[in-house]
């Protein structure tokens, strides 16, 4: 306890609620000290997974190990896990200090040692001096931080965060996000964050697992997932994509020539199982699609017309009708190279930015 950080290993976890299988055979290994995020759409089983790890729910199958110990059957209070609930779940009848000290009292930490540890935890979440307040006298962001202090003061083997930022307004969320990023470095506790927010997941995590309908679709570092999504679901969930389906031509040295109706043919790394004549899908992120004025179009460029423009402040999103497709492009909002609705443009891309995806 409280020594070297522990890892988590969940094997073939299954949890059913009547006819629905909320968690359908999850294998996740979190490394010691890692900040790991489970990312997925609403209802995919993220909270259920977290509750299985915490011991609030008993699995219908599979095992959970934290560090060297098999905790599959261990009662909640014996797991030494810090859990931050989506609604914070602070004890309304206790002061902030009493809330934070609750776990210490349960662990029979001597009274004299509790005070300094509570003070240090509150300092860590930048709430020094708030110990005497009641939760009802705090803002949402402050309550959030009390919940965090309450979870870390016990020096848990594992810190679980269930959508900790989703109840905060946009600015506060940004603040808390950078605070969490700081904490992560200072504390070094193995942490599992559950969220449906890609920015949250990517900015905080060492690795991310993308979930769909109770299953893990892919695990990897944020850039890995973004650049090489395992399938169309992961690609689409991590942001807007251009998704082109064409036909495989020649394959040589693991590189396939793929023909797309209306576009030029491209050379992409072949997926295992691709044969000549097969259907193949590749993706291209909008920010990798270059736009130039049609007059300056180079050899092999595809020319089209801009039919949608959306300014995001620092970025501009374009939709281009070209080759019978709707192509998405994103560009920095500079003074130069801006296009207007109806402009004729040439689109270009580097084949190295294309990623083949399984259906």
């Amino acid at each position: 306890m409280g020594g070297a950080p522990a890892g988590l290993e969940a094997r073939s976890l299954v949890k059913r609620f009547g006819a629905t299988t909320a968690v359908d055979g999850i294998d996740i290994a979190v490394r010691p000290g890692e900040f790991f995020t489970v990312l997925g759409p609403s209802g995919c089983g993220k909270t259920t997974f977290l509750r299985l790890v915490a011991g609030i729910l008993a699995p219908d199958g599979g095992s959970i190990r934290i560090g060297a110990a098999d905790l599959t059957q261990a009662p909640i209070w014996a797991r030494n896990i810090g859990l931050v609930f989506q609604n914070y779940a602070l004890f309304p009848h206790m002061t902030v200090a009493q809330n934070v000290g609750f776990g210490l009292a349960m662990r029979r930490v001597p009274r004299a040692d509790r005070g300094p540890r509570i003070a240090r935890a509150l300092e860590t979440v930048r709430l020094d001096g708030y110990g005497g307040r009641r939760p009802s006298e705090l803002s949402g962001g402050q309550q959030q931080r009390v919940a965090l202090a309450r979870a870390i003061v016990i020096e848990p083997d594992l810190l679980l965060l269930d959508e900790p930022l989703s109840n905060l307004d946009a600015r506060l969320r940004e603040d808390m996000r950078s605070e969490l990023a700081d904490l992560k470095h200072r504390l070094g506790i193995t942490t599992i964050l559950v969220t449906h927010d890609i920015h949250e997941a990517f900015s905080l995590s060492d690795r991310v697992a993308v979930m769909r309908a109770g299953r893990v679709e892919q695990v990897g570092a944020p850039t890995e997932l973004y650049e090489l999504p395992a399938n169309r679901f992961v690609a689409g969930f991590l942001g807007p994509v251009n998704e082109w389906t064409g036909r495989v031509g020649a394959i040589a040295d693991g590189t396939a020539e793929v023909e797309f109706a209306g576009l030029r043919s491209c050379r992409v790394p072949a997926l295992a199982g691709w044969r000549g004549g097969d259907e193949a899908t590749v993706i291209l992120r909008p920010e990798r699609l270059g736009l130039t004025a049609a007059s300056a179009a180079g050899e092999g460029a595809v020319v089209g017309r801009i039919d949608q423009v959306a300014h995001l402040g620092n970025l501009v999103n374009y939709r281009v009708a070209a080759g019978g497709r709707a192509l998405l492009a994103q560009a920095p909002a500079g003074r130069t190279g801006r296009f207007a609705l109806g402009d004729r443009v040439a689109v270009a891309w580097d084949d190295a930015d294309l990623a083949p995806v399984a259906p």
Binding site: A54, W77, N80, A89, F91, H93, S136
Partner: protein, 295 residues
């Protein structure tokens, strides 16, 4: 948590102006139907009773001095003892029953509440008569225990304070159970899990989270329960018998059989003062931190 202050302003009631127009009739009705008779009773209790009737021309505190007679002292003590005993039993039963109830499914809860309400479906006199069939010397309980060979002579289960407690407890328990049940159901279920992940065993969750957050509701129920016990009339009269009278029955006798309204008034005022005293002490306890000082 935050809903306290927000809730108040959300109601948006400013006392003044048209509000009195709506409150007026209700206030007048209360004044006429409740406070006026009470005031009159108090005045009457300060007049002497003569064979010719109430002597409204002279004033006296003799009626109150008569209360100091040991007989009335005993009756008052008995009334308090029985009332507090019923409240104590109700409070002791409240958490086990309430926690069990709150854990049932919706249908189970509806049926269980119906069962706990059932004492009120029967008239108090009929109900008390029913109890005599069960509690009497040749009643169900005593004959059952005798046929099992557990007792030789019948237990005295009625015509004493035991009878009053047994007769009132089932019906009056409801008033402790209902508020507590509502409070238990209103608890955020995550508080329980939060406490457990922090290392609390189930009994620690109960003592440190569940009880502090629901105690105000329990105490509110206990206060209602206590006042109902103090005021109960029919069941104590029938199950307590002639030697075990409670204050409300004495007041009935003095007022309606002896027609001694001045002394009956003094009895009523004394009962009111004692009951209110206990209620205020109990409320003081709630506010004074037993409930964890919720705001």
């Amino acid at each position: 948590m935050i809903s306290g202050a927000a809730g108040r302003s959300a109601l948006g009631i400013r006392l003044g102006g048209s509000v009195w127009l709506f409150l007026g009739p209700a206030l007048l009705l209360m004044l006429a139907a409740y406070l006026a008779p009470l005031f009159d009773t108090t005045i009457v209790s300060l007049h002497p009773n003569r064979p010719t009737g109430i002597d409204r021309d002279s004033w006296t505190i003799a009626n109150y001095l008569r209360l100091l007679d040991t007989y009335y002292g005993e009756v008052l003590l008995r009334t308090l003892r029985v009332s507090l005993l019923i409240t104590l039993f109700s409070v002791l039963l409240a958490y086990p029953v309430g926690v069990w109830l709150a854990g049932l499914g919706p249908r189970g809860q509806a049926w269980a509440i119906l069962v706990y309400m059932s004492p009120w479906f029967v008239n108090a006199v009929v109900k008390s008569f029913g109890w005599t069939l069960i509690l009497g010397n040749r009643g169900l309980v005593n004959r059952g225990l005798q046929s099992l060979g557990l007792i030789d002579s019948p237990l005295r289960l009625m015509l004493n304070e035991t009878g009053i407690v047994i007769g009132l407890l089932p019906g009056h328990f409801l008033f402790v159970l209902l508020p507590l049940w509502a409070a238990l159901k209103g608890l955020d279920g995550n508080l329980r899990w939060a406490a457990m992940t922090l290392g609390a065993r189930p009994w620690q969750v109960f003592l440190r989270v569940t009880v502090p957050l629901t105690l105000p509701a329990l105490l509110a129920g206990a206060i209602i329960n206590f006042t109902m016990n103090m005021a109960a009339f029919a069941a104590p009269a029938l199950l307590g018998g002639t030697r075990t009278r409670v204050l409300s029955f004495i007041a009935y006798q003095v007022n309606l059989e002896e027609l001694n309204w001045p002394f009956g008034g003094a009895l009523a005022v004394a009962m009111l003062v004692v009951t209110l005293g206990f209620v205020m002490v109990a409320q003081g306890l709630t506010r004074g931190g037993l409930g964890g000082g919720r705001r």
